[in-house]
Amino acid sequence: MKELKLMKGNEALAEAAIRCGCDAYFGYPITPQSEVLEYLSMEAHSRTGMLVLQAESEVAAINMIYGAAGTGKKVMTTSSSPGISLMQEGISYIACAELPCVLANVVRGGPGLGTIQPSQGDYFQAVKGGGHGDYKLIVLAPSTVQEMVDFVKLAFNLAFKWRNPVMILTDGALGQMMEKVELFPQEERTFEPLPWATTGKPKSRERNFITSLHMQADAMEEINRHLQAKYKKIEEEETMFEEYMCDDAEYILTAYGLVARICQKAAQLAREKGIKVGVFRPKTVFPFPTGQLAKLAGKVKGILDVEMNAGQMVEDVRLAVNGKIPVEFHGRMGGVIPSPEEVLHKLEEKFVGGKA
């Protein structure tokens, strides 16, 4: 029987973590996502014996993740923009050390302390590195509370499959929004000693030693080559996207997360006026669905990219489209959510009645 529940996005993240058999959560309070820590503190212990720890800062939290991930356990942290900024050093080290973990960024308006309202201002940080060095996170962008649930499970699978940190890139509105979700059944917390984890040294192999330091440049280049090859395979195998009314579309709206839903509404409004509009939504923003978007670009007249920032994913859209058709941008910043009418108006202004 289906298990349906009305849940807040933040609670959904927490509930899904428990059901995945997550072993430990390390976090620090920050609005608008403190509910994850609170929900887990209340629920997790008794249900699965999962450990929930309030760290003394986000810096401490990510380093606890680093340590716990090294033991081969399923670990997770969540935060919101300023807190995720604090974690960047640790994330870079974890990526280089190739340890699996799940992170969620419930993004709020920035830069600086900004607002506690929703934003997509951290796209670059999540997708283009964030910390130092050439590394990639796998970045999942849910657009519904249901996907908040599903992507936690997916994130753990991908993290262990690729030995890579996986980030769920969401926002304050999805975190606070209540929607009906279908929950997957509780999975058992299992622990298999993994060959790379700090689980002692059997006779059969060398001891495991976790580090991201390699003094020789050529050795470090080798590590980099290995990482890049891995990222390339991730691009080939894990790219996910959704097309909405794209088959006969003349114009495409590109958007991720919550904004994609606003764009779907805008597309409906456009079609009522006889303008054939579709929506292309990357579900993974790294890997970005470059090839799929390029294909689509061959069939339409123009793209309007819509984001809650000053224009970040639009760069990936333009790279994919590669000049074939015009790509315009509309964004709201600082915690302001665009309305479907506003998106439609922009589309008409830029394309239909406008220059293209």
Binding site: P29, T31, S34, L37, S41, V52, Q54, E56, S57, E58
Partner: protein, 344 residues
């Protein structure tokens, strides 16, 4: 850079130190009292408003600079002490104040706090200690008592709290004091003393968060308990407390014990005489740790004060000394100097 604060007589009133912004703490919050006492004391210092700056991190306490009619700086969670250090060494003539809380300064900002104290940067740090995270709505903090039920510890917290006074002493703060939000007169005195100190002045203020940790200090500062639980320290005076000062603290070796001054055996002469400038810091720690023993009263007042060269002063002195020795720098000379490399 001059290192002295210009105190040319300016007549200011508490009103001058209000920013005019609506104060937005919860009704009944202890922070209101702190704001009022600070605004009452600052005019007495004779420092022009434009030479005072209030710096904060993030938290309920950190809204403080919005309400002060001085320069203000609302900064990064936990980082106020580091930012204040930057301000002080750049503009040593300013009177630099930090408003912070237990989450902000004892948790995420712990590292900056200990190093500021260690360096003896001339800052006044007011710690609004309510033993809870207020702004994020009620998670336990590093000063929460073991077993505290909070949003993030629904079954009780398991880790031990910091003793802020002990932490400040251990880190080398040169002025360490405690006040309570419900004793405004005494708090004013402490703020004044902190203001007059040169070096890192640390004032812990027990502050009630009516919403998420109401009554955290009732057992100490509550109406029924305060006479027996609050010990007001006075320099060079015997430590006495209780109704009509009928009780005293005697130092038995390293152990503070309560004595009855009316028992016909003990008198004020048996009491520990408080010495703020005690050359032996061990005794300051004993005072700070009296909170560990429920049978003892909690000390309020200046636990310790010592004078050492401040960091900002030392830096200025060094720059002056080196400049005098080596002469003023000459960029051309450096460019033509020997430390160059050729890349093959």
């Amino acid at each position: 850079m001059s290192n002295t604060i210009d105190t040319t007589q300016v007549k200011l009133t508490p009103k001058d130190f209000a920013s005019g912004q609506d104060v937005r703490w919860c009704p009944g919050c202890g922070d209101y009292s702190i704001l009022a006492q600070v605004q009452r004391v600052l005019p007495e210092l004779g420092i022009p408003k434009e030479q005072i700056i209030w710096i904060s991190g993030i938290g309920c306490s950190s809204r403080f600079p919005y309400y002060m009619g001085t320069y203000g700086f609302h900064t990064i969670h936990g980082r106020a002490a580091a930012i204040a250090t930057g301000v002080k060494v750049s503009r040593p003539e300013l009177s630099v104040w930090v408003a912070t809380g237990d989450g902000d300064m004892m948790s995420i900002g712990g590292n900056h706090f200990i190093h500021t104290c260690r360096k003896n940067v001339d800052l006044k740090i007011l710690l609004f200690n309510n033993r809870i995270y207020g702004l994020t709505k009620g998670q336990y903090s590093p000063t929460s008592e073991v077993g505290l039920i909070s949003k993030s510890t629904p079954y009780g917290s398991v880790d031990y709290p910091f003793n802020p006074l002990s932490l400040a002493l251990g880190s080398g703060a040169t002025f360490v004091a405690r006040a309570a939000d419900n004793d405004p007169k005494h708090m004013q005195e402490m703020i004044k003393r902190a203001a007059e100190h040169k070096g890192t002045a640390f004032l812990e203020i027990l502050q009630n968060c009516v919403i998420f940790n109401d009554g955290a200090y009732d057992a100490i500062t509550g109406k029924e308990n305060r006479t027996d639980k609050m010990l007001y320290l006075k320099h060079n005076q015997p430590m006495t407390f209780g109704k009509d000062n009928s009780k005293g603290i005697k130092l038995d070796g390293f152990k503070p014990v309560v004595i009855d001054l009316n028992d016909g055996v003990h008198s004020a002469n048996d009491c520990w005489i408080h010495d703020e400038t005690d050359h032996d810091a061990a005794r300051s720690f004993i005072l700070a740790h009296m909170t560990d023993h429920p049978e003892l009263p909690v000390p309020f007042g200046v636990v310790r004060q010592e004078y050492k060269t401040t960091y900002d002063q030392a830096v200025s002195n060094q720059i002056a000394a080196v400049t005098e020795k080596r002469g003023k720098g000459d960029l051309q000379k450096i460019l033509r100097g020997g430390n160059t490399w050729e890349i093959a």
